[in-house]
Amino acid sequence: MALLEVKNLEVYYGVICALKGISFEVNRGEIVTLIGANGAGKTTTMQSVVGLIPKRGGQVLYNGKEITHTPCHKIVRLGMTQVPEGRRIFQELTVYENLLMGAYSVKDSSGFKNDIEAVYTRFPRLAERRNQIAGTLSGGEQQMLAMGRALMSHPDLLMLDEPSMGLSPLLVDQVFEIIKDINRDGTTILLVEQNAGKSLAISDRAYVLENGRIVLSGTGKELSESEMVRKAYLGG
C-alpha cells in the first residue's frame, strides 16, 4: 500500500481548471518528484493535497486512510508536513520561535529539546542564529529554517515545494544533499522542482506535470534519459 495515493485530483481557480484529474502515488521510503514548468500546477497539487486549496474532485489517501476532506491543520498530525513554496517562515519570530511553531502539532513536548538539537545539528547555521529574527536571514538560511521547522513535527512524509528556488548553485547542491540525508534517515519525500536535472538524479520515481495533467512517469533514471524530458526540461 502506498503511503500517499492521489486519485483523479481536480482543482479549479474559479472557472479556470488548474488540475485536470491527476493521479500519483508515493511509497514509503521513496523520493518522488513532480517536475514541470512554471504554471504547470505543481504548487496547486501540493497545496490541495494537504487541504490548503479546496479540491473539486478526486481522492487523497494517506496510509490507506481517506483524507480528501480533512482540514489542513489536522493533516500535520497524521505525519504529513509541507515546506511551502517561497518558504513562508514567520518573519517576525526568531529562528528558535519558528522551530517552536514547527513543533506546534506535537502533543508530547518532552522530546522537544532533542528535536531542536537534531535540527541544529543538521543545520549548524540555524544554531548560530537561533535568536535572530527570521526575516533578517538570507534566502539560503530561510530555506534551511523552513526545512528545520517542518522536521520539528516528525513527518513520515515531507513535501517540499521548489526548495532550490532562488538559491545560488552552491546552496542548491547543499539543499539536495540535505534532502537525500533526510530521506536516508527514514523520511519519505515528495518533491516539486523546476530543476529537473538535480531532482531526477536523487529521485526514485518522478512524474512530469504539464498544464494540469501528468504526461509522463517513471523512475528518476528513466525520465532523465527520456527524449521528451531532455528536450523540455534538461536543455537538450
Binding site: R77, Q91, R149
Partner: protein, 316 residues
C-alpha cells in the same frame, strides 16, 4: 462627547498671583493632564487593542467592537440591579466574550474569504443591530448605574478621582499581561503566526478558526473592562455609549499602526493626551474631536502604516 469632559479632576488653584504661585499652578495643571491623559488614553488603548488584534488576525475591521462596550455596560447595569459590583463586572466580561464570539461565528465566519467591503458592511450592520436591540430592550432613555464610588484624593494639591488611578493601574496590568500572553504562550505565538501567514500557520497544525475565536474573546473582554471604566466616569448607559469611543479607539489603532499591539497602546495614549490637553484650552476645547481626526489624517499622509505598523511585504 469626550471622556475627558467627564473627568472631574480640577486644580484647586490658590488666589495668589505671584510668580511662584503661577509656577505651582502650571505644575498642578501638568499633573492633572498627565494623569487624565494616561487614564483616558489607557481606555482608548484597551478598546484599540480589540480592533487591532482582530484586524491583525482576521484581517477585518470589526466595526461592532465599540458596541460591545455598550453591551458590557448594560450587562453591568442589569446585574447591579440584583447583585454586587464584583459579580456584575465578571458577568459583564462573560457576556461580552459570548457576544463577541457569537457575532464572529454568525456574522463574520461565513464571510471568510469574501471581499473586504462585504465584511465591512456586515460589521457596520452588526453595530446598528446591537444598538437597535439595546434600544428595544432597554428603551431610549439612558439608565443610571453607580458601580462603585471610589471618591477623590489630594496629590500635591491636585484633586484626583481615585477611579482615574484605578483605571490606570488596571490598564497597565492588562497591557503587560496581554503582551506576555502573546509572546510567551503557545496560543499567543499561534496568534502571531496566523497574523503573519494563515496558510503557513495551518501547515504547522494551527486551527485558524480557533485562533480567531480566541482573538474575538480577548478583544471583547477588553471591551467589557472599557465599559466598566466608562461607567466609573459617567454613571449612565445608553445604546450609543460605545459608538464614539469605538471610533476614537479605531483612530488610535490606525495612528499606532493597525495590527500592532504596542501601536494600539501608543495610539491610545496619544489620543488620550491630545484630548486632555485640548479640553484644558478653552478656545479649542469644542473642536477636540476634529483635532483628533485631523491628527489621524496627517499621520496617515506622512506614514500610511501608522507609527508602528508594518510595511506590506511582497510575497516571494
Amino acid at each position: 462627547m469626550n471622556i475627558s469632559n467627564l473627568l472631574d479632576c480640577s486644580v484647586m488653584s490658590g488666589g495668589g498671583a505671584s510668580f511662584g504661585d503661577k509656577l505651582a499652578d502650571i505644575g498642578r495643571e501638568l499633573i492633572t493632564i498627565i494623569i487624565n491623559g494616561l487614564s483616558v488614553g489607557g481606555i482608548y488603548a484597551m478598546i484599540a487593542l480589540g480592533y487591532t488584534m482582530v484586524y491583525g488576525i482576521a484581517k477585518m475591521l470589526n466595526f461592532a467592537h465599540g458596541d460591545i462596550i455598550m453591551v458590557g455596560a448594560y450587562a453591568i447595569y442589569v446585574v447591579m440591579l440584583i447583585s454586587n459590583p464584583i459579580v456584575a463586572i465578571l458577568c459583564s466580561i462573560v457576556v461580552c466574550i459570548l457576544m463577541g464570539v457569537l457575532i464572529e461565528k454568525v456574522a463574520y465566519k461565513p464571510l471568510r474569504g469574501a471581499s473586504p467591503l462585504a465584511v465591512l458592511i456586515t460589521a457596520i450592520g452588526v453595530s446598528y443591530l446591537l444598538q437597535s436591540l439595546a434600544q428595544i430592550i432597554f428603551g431610549s432613555d439612558p439608565k443610571f448605574v453607580v458601580v462603585y464610588d471610589f471618591g477623590a484624593i489630594n496629590i500635591l494639591g491636585v484633586r484626583i478621582q481615585v477611579f482615574t488611578l484605578v483605571t490606570l493601574a488596571v490598564t497597565v496590568v492588562v497591557m503587560v499581561a496581554l503582551t506576555l500572553f502573546v509572546k510567551m504562550t503557545r496560543i499567543g505565538r499561534a496568534m502571531i503566526a496566523v497574523s503573519e501567514d494563515k496558510g503557513a500557520a495551518q501547515l504547522m497544525g494551527i486551527n485558524v478558526n480557533n485562533i480567531i475565536t480566541v482573538t474575538f474573546a480577548i478583544g471583547s473582554s477588553l471591551a467589557a473592562v472599557a465599559g466598566l471604566f466608562y461607567l466609573l466616569k459617567a454613571p449612565t448607559v445608553s445604546n450609543t455609549l460605545g459608538a464614539m469611543p469605538g471610533i476614537k479607539a479605531f483612530t488610535a489603532a490606525v495612528i499606532g499602526g493597525i495590527g500592532s499591539i504596542p501601536g494600539a497602546m501608543l495610539g491610545g495614549l496619544l489620543l488620550g493626551f491630545v484630548e486632555c490637553i485640548a479640553a484644558k484650552i478653552t478656545v479649542i476645547a469644542p473642536y477636540t474631536d476634529a483635532i483628533e481626526f485631523s491628527i489621524l489624517i496627517i499621520i496617515l499622509l506622512v506614514r500610511p502604516t501608522g507609527f508602528l505598523g508594518k510595511k506590506r511585504r511582497e510575497k516571494v
